[in-house]
């Protein structure tokens, strides 16, 4: 009896030890340990998270971003005509997914609200196992989701976000931005404005009362003042404002001869419409024709403002009428699939998806720190806007910036803006510790691979 019990205990001990021994290698090859990063793809697929505004005021922009992401996935998996993969200077992508894994995706709705965007991104990371999050259409959202991805150990490839802060004071090692920023808009616009309107101008700024508005006003104001312009007044306007007439009429009473509308989306559509209604464009002040400037344009906004955009200068990250091979390849793919040309939001999102996939291929790993290394100071071409650098110091892309003007005689509903200047990248480049970008205190920190 006694022997039997001892024997049984020994059997149990031996079994437990054997089991633990057999299990040990499994533990160390599990997702949580071996690679040491969050959501390591272990099967034959890899999941990307597309977090875009599918409701709220930027829903149309978000829909275009989603179209671009779906096109990018199709191309990465070997479908369609390959789009910009054929013009991209890096040839690491083969059309067989990423590192041989078929690309799948989940989508989330940011609602253009930081808290909703974070909740949606968190769900994609925790429930869907997304290894990278991309998207956006608001700097507030981008900064919030970027911080979340940094904490979670996930790469964030920012979509449309134009505030200096995204790669300025709020920059993160796990976050990357292909889109341009407020400083670049100001630097590209100011010389064109001086050339067309002269250096002796008095500007009145109306500015959206949030992060993006502040950095855009600061960038345009400092750039134009450097050209000799005087800023006579700056007024913040609530984001919820729909009728700007009460803000426009004081402009009539001032001696300003230029109105700068640091507004985006519906705010810009309404403020520009109101400004034109009040005859600002027909005024002559200080012996000069009164002018209006819109620092950040998008085709979708131009469509909303209709004929009011005619002749008005602004900047844009990319435009479908660019004639380089990459842009044309993308326009052809997108236009054939959807029946209309892509917006700048669609372009930057498509490029970000391809750049991430390419970085993983070149790094040979989905590990965020490997991706960080592959993207830092990465130089590429063939994706529109000419040669581009992903600067290591702040993860901001540096490329040529377009200055556009509302077209006087559009030939179609898409033909609303014309490119008047492709500003060379050297003219819009700044030091990583520039005061508008958080100064010397702003740092990326270290990459976080997560789990």
């Amino acid at each position: 009896m006694s022997n039997s019990e001892i024997s049984r205990r020994r059997v149990l001990k031996t079994g437990a030890a054997t089991g633990a021994g057999l299990a040990l290698p499994t533990i160390f090859t599990g997702a949580a340990w071996s690679a040491g990063f969050t959501n390591e793809p272990t099967g034959s697929t890899v999941t990307l998270g597309f977090n875009v505004p599918q409701s709220g005021p930027y829903a149309d922009e978000g829909a275009d971003e989603l179209r671009a992401y779906e096109l990018a996935v199709e191309h990465l998996n070997g479908g369609g005509d390959g789009g910009m993969m054929s013009t991209f200077s890096s040839k690491a992508l083969q059309g067989n997914g990423i590192l041989g894994k078929k690309v799948e995706y989940v989508t989330g709705d940011t609602q253009t609200k930081s808290d909703a965007a974070r909740a949606s991104a968190r769900s994609m990371i925790e429930k869907d196992g997304a290894v990278m999050i991309t998207g956006g259409s608001s700097s507030g959202v981008a900064v919030a989701v970027q911080a979340l991805c940094q904490e979670a150990g996930i790469i964030f490839m920012a979509g449309l976000t134009h505030s200096n802060d995204t790669t300025g004071k709020d920059r993160k090692a796990n976050g990357f931005r292909h889109f341009f920023n407020s400083y670049m808009s100001g630097a590209a616009l100011a010389p064109i404005l001086a050339k067309n309107y002269g250096t002796d101008r008095k500007a009145y700024h109306l500015t959206a009362d949030y992060n993006w508005g502040y950095t855009t006003e600061e960038a345009v104001r400092s750039s134009t003042e450097a050209m000799g312009w005087e800023t006579v007044n700056t007024v913040l306007t609530p984001l919820t404002q729909t009728d700007f007439s009460a803000y426009i009429t004081p402009v009539l009473q001032s001696d300003a001869d230029v109105l700068v509308l640091n507004h985006y989306g519906g705010n810009m559509v309404n403020s520009l419409t109101n400004a034109v209604q009040f005859g600002l464009r027909d005024r002559v002040v200080n012996g000069k024709n009164f002018e209006i400037v819109v620092p950040l344009y998008s085709r979708l906004m131009a469509k909303g403002a209709g004929a009011n955009v005619k002749g008005i200068f602004g900047s844009t990250n990319w435009h479908w009428s660019l004639q380089d091979a990459g842009s044309q390849a993308f326009v052809r793919s997108f236009g054939t699939k959807y029946g209309f040309p892509p917006s700048q939001a669609a372009h930057t999102c498509y490029v970000q998806a391809l750049l991430y996939a390419d970085a993983v291929e070149r790094a040979g790993s989905f590990n965020p720190c490997a991706v960080d290394e592959a993207l830092s100071d990465f130089e590429f071409d063939g994706m529109g806007n000419g040669p581009t650098l992903y600067r290591a110091a702040d993860h901001q892309c540096f490329k040529d910036v377009l200055v556009v003007r509302g077209k006087e005689n559009p030939t179609s509903e898409f033909d609303l803006l014309e490119i008047v200047e492709v500003t060379p990248v050297e003219q819009v480049t700044y030091a990583p510790d520039h005061p508008q970008f958080g100064g010397a205190e702003a740092t990326l920190g270290t990459c976080n691979p997560g789990a």
């Binding site: 709220g56 004081p250 009040f278 326009v331």
Partner: protein, 343 residues
């Protein structure tokens, strides 16, 4: 002085929209006793009637123009509106140009239909329910209507211009002897103000000088007694709901050129219009109109630079601040009647 005149004009213009929406709200509250939170959505639906008519008038068939190419390099497909085929290009262009004023004729039957359907299909079931229930159900309806519009028209604003004859602005200052260019006012905003005054006068005249209006006013004072006289007061109240919906609708149609219509414009106006109604006095038509213009003018002045510099954020709180002061000193509002909302 010219700045003050300009802000008063602005305020009258903004107040016109507030007053028209508040007028409809008060008509519904005064007749049916229903607090209709879907009224802003009716204003938005009116604006989209203008958009829809504009889109109908520009419905086109494609003609291939081999001499030009589209963005993909294919022969350009040119859209030719059907109205060109029917009326010729010159007349067709004029009809398209006048889409917004024509939108009033288009909107009236649609808004009346929507009003009747709303009242008969939903609102009547809440007559005897607490105001909180009415607010919840009508607010829910407003969200449903808003989402339907977003589904079909998208989230971006849709430019809906005024006729060419009313585009631009005129020198109001020169007319009054001020420096030329000091008071510039857009033609269409003046049209909107005059339109609002006409609608307000028409509604008052209708209620004051017609038999129908007299019965409705009697019904508003004592519904049961009017019913005992053998008058179908419910039918008349349904018609009043339809009229209120039409007022909101045509207000939205004419507002479309001022700010491009978008799906949430109703919500933007709703809360402010309710404040207008409360400040004017619940159930008081003259109160709603007077408060609409008063708060519109105050809001305009509060948006001026000196006011914002003096009290930062005053432009965003002025209406609520004034509402608090008026309700503290006159709990029934400016022209409120005793007993209304006091049960």
């Amino acid at each position: 002085m010219d700045a003050i005149i300009l802000q008063i004009l602005n305020g009258l213009d903004k107040g016109s929209a507030y007053a028209l929406i508040a007028l409809g709200l008060t008509l519904i509250f005064g007749t049916l006793g229903v607090v209709n939170f879907a009224h802003g959505a009716l204003f938005m639906l009116g604006a989209f009637c203008a958009v829809t008519l504009s889109q109908i008038l520009t419905l086109s068939h494609e003609v291939i123009d081999d001499t030009r190419t589209d963005f993909l390099g294919n022969p350009l497909k040119v859209d030719v509106p059907y109205v060109y085929d029917i009326f010729g290009q010159a007349a067709g262009d004029t009809i398209i140009d006048w889409a917004v004023p024509l939108g009033i004729l288009f909107a009236i039957p649609i808004m009346a239909g929507i009003g009747i359907a709303m009242e008969r299909g939903l609102i009547k079931h809440f007559y005897k329910r607490p105001h909180a229930d009415q607010i919840l159900v009508t607010f829910g309806l407003a969200i449903v209507l808003q989402e339907i519009i977003k589904y079909f028209y998208g989230a971006n604003p849709i430019p809906t211009p005024a006729p060419d004859a009313f585009i631009g602005s005129f020198d109001f200052g020169a007319m009054l002897g001020f420096d030329p260019g000091s008071i510039i006012y857009p033609y269409w905003r003046l049209v909107y103000f005059l339109f609002a005054m006409t609608i307000i006068a028409a509604v008052f005249a209708f209620l004051q000088f017609t038999t129908f209006g007299m019965v409705v006013r009697a019904g508003m004072a004592d519904r049961e007694t009017v019913g005992l006289l053998g008058i179908n007061i419910d039918k008349r109240f349904t018609i009043m709901f339809a009229i209120a919906a039409c007022v909101a609708g045509v207000a939205g149609v004419m507002y479309a050129p001022i700010n491009s219509p978008n799906y949430h414009m109703g919500m933007d106006f709703l809360v402010l219009s309710f404040v207008v109604v409360v400040v004017g006095g619940m159930g008081s038509l003259p109160g709603a109109v007077a408060a609409g213009f008063l708060l519109g003018i105050l809001e305009s002045f509060a948006s001026m630079s000196w006011a914002i510099n003096l009290v930062p954020g005053i432009n965003q709180i002025i209406i609520y601040l004034v509402a608090i002061i008026i309700l503290l000193t006159r709990p029934r509002g400016l022209m409120g009647r005793k007993g209304v909302m006091e049960d």
